[in-house]
């Protein structure tokens, strides 16, 4: 493996990181919106969200990505590999985030909500000042865990030709007829990344438990 090869893999890492970050930034608020829609029981929207989330959580990311990449152009929506990958990642993570947010919202103590109502806060204020700040804290470990899961599925991008870490490694292996070393380099990039995020998740969980106990 030459220096150029390693550079290619690092470029793939940059692609992975960019796409992951974008998907997270889009998927987190989207998941929250979906969760709120269900929690507030908005007519028509809520059951639709329930079905949407259920299907997305049951669908392999590969299948979803292939669907978007091949099917959208065929019904008149031109979409490139990167865009399709981004949409697939975002849809996927939003569905899982939705469940994390929902759990947090459902576990939110009702009496705090009623206290906010009784002092006359309106819906938006209740949400903004009372519910969300606490729900965010409670959901943090689950959300961080979901981020680690997102990183673990990013190799799917390789399936539609986006050059992420995995595809770069596979391509180098094919060119040099020595597949193992580049794959191990890819491993050496993924494992610390995921491990670091998992540690952060555990730390936030512990911190949360401590502040709860206090």
């Amino acid at each position: 493996m030459s220096a150029a090869d390693i550079l290619a893999i690092l470029q793939g890492a940059a692609t992975t990181a960019t796409l992951s970050l974008t998907a997270i930034c889009l998927g987190l608020p989207l998941g929250l919106a979906l969760a709120l829609a269900r929690w507030a029981n908005i007519p028509i929207v809520a059951p639709f969200v329930a079905v949407y989330v259920s299907i997305l959580r049951a669908t392999p990311l590969v299948t979803l990505l292939l669907l978007l990449f091949f099917a959208l152009p065929s019904i008149g929506v031109p979409i490139g590999a990167v865009a399709a990958a981004l949409v697939a990642l975002t849809m996927n993570t939003s569905a899982f985030n939705c469940e994390v947010w929902r759990a947090g919202l459902m576990n939110f103590p009702k009496d705090q909500f009623e206290a906010a109502q009784s002092v006359g806060m309106r819906r938006r204020q209740r949400l903004q000042r009372i519910v969300l700040p606490q729900v965010l804290r409670a959901c943090l470990p689950g959300l961080v865990n979901e981020i680690s899961l997102l990183i673990k599925v990013t190799p799917v991008l390789a399936v539609v030709g986006v050059v992420d870490i995995t595809r770069a490694a596979v391509r180098i292996g094919a060119e040099t007829y020595d597949p193992l070393p580049p794959l191990l380099v890819a491993l050496a990039i993924y494992v610390p990344m995921v491990y670091a995020i998992v540690r952060v998740a555990r730390l936030t969980e512990r911190r949360l438990a401590q502040t709860e106990a206090a």
Binding site: S54, A58, P179, L180, V194, Y195
Partner: protein, 218 residues
Amino acid sequence: MRHDFLVVWGERGLLLSGLGNTVVLSLAATIAALGLGAALAPGLMAARGRYRLAFTGFVDGLRCIPFLLFAYIVYYGLPSLGLNLDNWTAGLAALTIYNTAYMAEILRGAWATQPRDPVDAGYAFGFTGVGHFRRIVLPPLLLSAAPVVGNQVIQIVKDSAFLTVIALPELTHAASSIQSRHYIPFAAFITAVLLYWMLCLAIEAGVACLGRVAEARR
């Protein structure tokens, strides 16, 4: 569009065989991973022991690896070490080993919440070793871990779709093949998505059933 779905219907044999392969693959991997995970779990649970560090390292490490990368390593990487596997064996092996780590961790987590007394009672009545684990510890453990194991089974089904990259003829591969031959991507993949969804609902129903069995024995 309707024509497209008719074509899909015409190819239902291929789709169903793909679905069948997905089910067989997932089932085999689940049973094997649960079995191996159950064998691994006592090592994780041990208070001390040199094995504990090794086992924990294996489990934590494996859970940090993306499955697709792991599948690539098993299929493409191992041959350079002299181990040549066909795509079915590699796929099943990758799926099994990968999920052994998750199953072991799930069982360990469930064990931490189990009451200690019935376990002590097992020892007090002379149960020991493997017999003790098999008859006293494992059954309530599996029942209590059923929901989390159920989620993992769904994950296994989804991971099996990744194996399309090593040309394993499971459901996504079948849909891909139909799509590329008939140029009906939407119909083909939507059908696959719906089939995955139904599989998932079936698994969740099974878990709910087990949940009722577990409730009676709580």
